[in-house]
Amino acid sequence: MEIDAKLGLDVFKLDKEPHIVVKNEICSTVCVNRACLYVCPADLYELDDQHRIVVNWEGCLECGTCLICCDARALEWTYPRGEFGVQYRMS
C-alpha cells in the first residue's frame, strides 16, 4: 500500500503555516547522514531539484522521530496549533 494512500485514511486538519521548518543552511553544511529522508514513518521528507530538503508537513503524524534523529538540529519543530494536525479516530 502506498504511503500516500495510508495517510489518506487519516483525518488531518491543516493550518495555514507549517509546524516544521527545515533550516537548509544547516542541512547543507553540518548534516552528514540526512536521516530525515529515511526515518520518517510518513515519508514526508524529500529532496527538491536543487538538493534542498523539503518537508511535506501536511501529512505529519507528530511522532517526533525526525526531530530526535536530527543531530544537526536543523529542524524548527513544534506541534501544530491547537485543533490542527492529525486527529486519530482509533489508534
Partner: protein, 429 residues
C-alpha cells in the same frame, strides 16, 4: 491572570488520571488538550495491563471501553526460511479479572476525559500550551496563544517528546539512543475472523509479538493486537539503529514488507486498513527518568520517561495512569499543607518509588542496554527456528537420534563465545 488550583498539560492517560483524582477531591482542575478531543493525538500498540492499576481507581475499570481481554500471548521468532511461534494460554490471563486488555486510544482517552469531567474537571480540547510560565524558577502556570492561566501546581503530561518540559530545562531533550518509533495500521476484520485466527472464544483477545527478520536485525519487533473489530499491526524500531543503517531503506516500507511475509499475509488477509499512525516510545528505562517534581510542577506519564520494553511485555499506559494517580495524591497533600514548592511535592516521587512504577523500572534497569544486542534480533530467532526445523525434518539419509540432532544444533548455535557472553549479560534480565 486567571488562576486555578491545578493545570494539567495534556489530556492523555497520565493527565486525565491526575485530573480525575484532583477533581474527585474537589480541586479546580483544567486539562488542556491540543487535539480535537482527548486521544486525538495518542497512539498505543496496544495493550493496557490493568492488574497493576486496578486498585487505584477501583470504580472506573468495570465500565471502561476496552477492546478485548487478552487471553492468549503469541510470540513468533522469525528467521530466514523458518519461523517458530509459541502460543501461551493461561486461565488467569482473561479469567474473572483479566490482567490486560487491548485498547484503542481515541476511545479510551475520550471516555476517561468524560469521567474526569463528571468529577468536575474542565477538559479543554483544541488548546495547545505554548509555554510554561515561570517566576524565579517556579512554574506558575501556562501560556496558550494569548491566554495566560496561573495554577498552584502544573501537572506536565504533554507526552513523550516533552517539548515544554525540556524547553524549560525540567528534563533532558529526548535522545535517539533511548527512543524507538512505533508505527501501525488499524486493520478492520470481522470479529469471528479474529477469533478463528487467534484461537479465541468470543470476546477474548490476543497479543502477538514478532522478533527477528521483521526488523532486519535492528532493535525492535513487530506487534499485533486484536481489537473488537480490527487488529492493530505495527512495528517498533529503535531510532539509533534505524538511523545508523540507511541501507535498510525507508522506515515506513518495513511495515509493508512485514505484511507481505508469508507468515503474516494469512493473518491480515481480507482486512481493510482504516488508519495509519506513528508515535515515539521512550525505551531508556529508569536511567532516563528525570527528576519528577519541582517548585510548582510534577512530570507524569511519557513526559517522565515512564515506559518499559521488556521484550515480551511492553508497558507504558499502566505507568501513565499510576503516575497520574500519585501526582494527584501528592498535589492534594501539598495543597492541604499549603506548600506547593518542590519540598511540598516531594511525596510524588516517594510514592512512585514505593509503587510498582519505579520499582518495576528499577528491576528492569539493565534491560535497555541488554536489548541493544543485535543478535537478539538476528541470530537467536534464526537459531531457535533452525534447531526446531532440524528436529522435524526427515530427509533421504538415515535419521539421527533426536538427542543427537538437538545437541548438534545447540552446540552449533548456542555454545560459542558470543552466545555464552550473551548468556552472561542476560543473567541481569
Amino acid at each position: 491572570m486567571e488562576k486555578v488550583d491545578c493545570i494539567v498539560v495534556g489530556g492523555g492517560l497520565a493527565g486525565l488520571s491526575a485530573a480525575y483524582g484532583l477533581a474527585s477531591a474537589g480541586l479546580e482542575v483544567m486539562v488542556l488538550e491540543r487535539g480535537d478531543y482527548a486521544g486525538a493525538k495518542n497512539v498505543t500498540g496496544g495493550r493496557l495491563y490493568v492488574s497493576p492499576i486496578r486498585e487505584l481507581y477501583p470504580e472506573l475499570w468495570a465500565e471502561a471501553p476496552f477492546e478485548r481481554a487478552v487471553a492468549r500471548e503469541w510470540i513468533t521468532m522469525m528467521g530466514d526460511g523458518a519461523h517458530t511461534t509459541f502460543e501461551v494460554a493461561a486461565d488467569r490471563f482473561a479469567g474473572e479479572t483479566p490482567q490486560s486488555y487491548t485498547v484503542l486510544r481515541a476511545r479510551l482517552d475520550q471516555w476517561l476525559a468524560e469521567k474526569a469531567g463528571e468529577k468536575g474537571a474542565m477538559v479543554v480540547p483544541k488548546m495547545k500550551v505554548d509555554e510554561l510560565l515561570r517566576r524565579e524558577g517556579r512554574v506558575i502556570g501556562i501560556r496558550a496563544g494569548d491566554d495566560e492561566i496561573g495554577a498552584d501546581v502544573t501537572v506536565i503530561a504533554e507526552g513523550v517528546l516533552g517539548l515544554l518540559a525540556s524547553g524549560a530545562g525540567l528534563r533532558a531533550e529526548p535522545a535517539e539512543r533511548d527512543h524507538a518509533v512505533g508505527f501501525k495500521e488499524v486493520i478492520e476484520l470481522p470479529p469471528a475472523t479474529i477469533e478463528d485466527r487467534w484461537h479465541l472464544n468470543p470476546g477474548e483477545g490476543a497479543a502477538h509479538l514478532f522478533m527477528g527478520a521483521v526488523t532486519k536485525g535492528m532493535l525492535g519487533g513487530g506487534f499485533l493486537y486484536t481489537n473488537k473489530e480490527s487488529i492493530s499491526l505495527g512495528l517498533v524500531v529503535g531510532m539509533a539503529a534505524l538511523k545508523q543503517d540507511p541501507d535498510q531503506g525507508k522506515c515506513f516500507s518495513l511495515l509493508d514488507e512485514f505484511k507481505e511475509m508469508p507468515q503474516i499475509r494469512p493473518l491480515v488477509a481480507g482486512g481493510t486498513v482504516a488508519e495509519y499512525s506513528a508515535h515515539a516510545i521512550a525505551e531508556g528505562g529508569i536511567a532516563q527518568v528525570p527528576r519528577l517534581y519541582g517548585d510548582g510542577y510534577v512530570l507524569a506519564g511519557d513526559t517522565a520517561g515512564l515506559s518499559l520494553n521488556a521484550l515480551v511485555t511492553v508497558r507504558g499506559m499502566d505507568f501513565a495512569i499510576a503516575s497520574g494517580y500519585h501526582a494527584a495524591q501528592a498535589v492534594l497533600a501539598a495543597k492541604k499543607a499549603g506548600d506547593c514548592s518542590a519540598a511540598g511535592l516531594a511525596g510524588y516521587e516517594q510514592s512512585l518509588r514505593q509503587s510498582f512504577v519505579l520499582k518495576d523500572l528499577e528491576t528492569a534497569r539493565h534491560i535497555p542496554r541488554i536489548i541493544e544486542n543485535p543478535r537478539l534480533f538476528t541470530h537467536y530467532p534464526q537459531a531457535v527456528s533452525r534447531l526446531l526445523e532440524s528436529v522435524f525434518t526427515i530427509g533421504p539419509q538415515p535419521s539421527r537420534r533426536l538427542v543427537k540432532t538437538l545437541w548438534r544444533g545447540v552446540r552449533k548455535d548456542f555454545l560459542n563465545v558470543a552466545t555464552l557472553k550473551d548468556a552472561w549479560q542476560m543473567r541481569k534480565l
